[in-house]
């Protein structure tokens, strides 16, 4: 499947090139990862539901990452960075688990 191959290619590229992240962006990297995972699991579930859409997938990925990083950045400026970060991770985690549960139902029942 091209999707899995593409992700593996991305991982390999990341390992080979080892890009240095600018210091200003380093605190937002973990939240970006969680947001990206939410988009990916949403895409997988949509595929299994039969309603996958490329545009929607790309938009959800970009907007998740940007919005999550923006919320945490705003929180840092306002002094509630840690709590907002926790909130974002909780919400994204709930979505990930919900989508994973649906994927599991598809895979082990269908």
């Amino acid at each position: 499947m091209f999707a899995v191959l593409a992700m593996i290619v991305g991982i390999v590229l990341g390992v080979i090139f080892e890009p240095t992240v600018p210091v200003a962006l380093q605190p937002y990297l973990p939240i970006a990862v969680v947001a990206a995972l939410d988009a990916v699991f949403g895409g997988i579930r949509a595929t299994l539901d039969g309603i996958f859409d490329d545009k929607q997938f790309v938009i959800s990925f970009v907007s998740n990452v940007l919005v999550a990083a923006l919320i945490v950045y705003l929180g840092d400026q306002l002094g509630v960075g840690g709590q907002l970060s926790t909130g974002v991770v909780v919400v994204l985690g709930v979505r990930i688990f919900g989508n994973v549960a649906a994927i599991r139902r598809h895979l082990f029942r269908a």
């Binding site: 091209f2 999707a3 593409a6 992700m7 593996i8 290619v9 991305g10 991982i11 390999v12 590229l13 990341g14 390992v15 080892e18 890009p19 992240v21 380093q26 990297l29 973990p30 970006a32 990862v33 990206a36 995972l37 988009a39 990916v40 949403g42 579930r45 949509a46 299994l48 539901d49 039969g50 309603i51 996958f52 859409d53 490329d54 545009k55 929607q56 997938f57 790309v58 938009i59 959800s60 990925f61 970009v62 919400v91 709930v94 979505r95 990930i96 688990f97 919900g98 989508n99 649906a102 139902r105 598809h106 029942r109 269908a110």
Partner: protein
Amino acid sequence: MNRRAWIERGDALLRRVGLRAGPDPAARPAPATNVARPAPGAEPLGSPTPPELSVDFLIELFRNPLDAGYSDAAAGRARSGPPGRSARRTGFTLRTITLIATGALLAIAYQQTVAAQPEAAKTRHSLAQDVQQRQAETDAQQKQAEQLRQQAASLRDAIVGPNSTALDQIEARAGVGAVTGDGVTVTLASGPAPTDPVTGKAQGTDQGHIVDFDLQVISNELWRDGAEAIAINGQRLIATSTIRAAGNAILVDLAPLSEPYTIQAIGPSSMADALRKSSVGGFYNYLATSYGVKFAVQSTNGLRLAGAADPGLRYATPATPSQSASPKPAPTGPRPHASGSIAPTSPPSQPAHASPPPGGP
């Protein structure tokens, strides 16, 4: 609205969120475009709620974790037909780029996490491993040195012949040769450090901690009680031995010791009692009862104390018989007194009076 309508709206809401079973009689027929095709094993959880009965955010979050955009896009596709080839190709490209970006993001985040491990912890861990490795090497080399020393001694005995016993005796006395005999074993261990009962952290001064002074005092008492050979945790005490503290560790010569400290001494059978009854023994018994220090004195038979490494003499040279007579008084010049003060230049027979004799009680 009348009461019945409110009840029906409440029932419809509860049915939609799955808290009440059964089909919803008053609901509109679900539009066919909401779900493109029923997915296998799909439950009401997958379908979005109609706009006029919105539920609060958390229920929505838990029930519908999937973006509504997917079902909307599917509805659009159902309306306008499958996408054309160029649209599919751009879609494929975008999807692939996004997945590559996700993979790269994962790899970068992992690398950053690994790199962010505190440098201090890594350095300390590698230093600790270094120390342990060197310690093991030192122990192995010490064992080898002991073996070689024994080999050298036996070879020397073979060469020297009848005088070898005299040499062995001198070595045993000096502490360089191994000795066996009956004696006493003293075991010393620190008591528990006083802790705050509420927080569990250390509190106050640790009076029950064994320091180098304790080992010095007990060794001194053993010498006084007639010991002829003393070893602490296997380290034999010789004429140039030191018992000192470096940081938190006690070192004998250059070997660090760890608790519990075992002092073995070969000497007369009265040593154990003498130590127990001495002021030193009384002091450590008091520490044992008050601070939980472990202090045990036991007569032991058949002790074998290994010899220490011969440090060699670099500054002291063995004196020839003519030089070994009692020191003659120097003809001129000051002669240092036992007290360390400079003596006047009068003949040594006159006592020096530096101060008037003390008067009064």
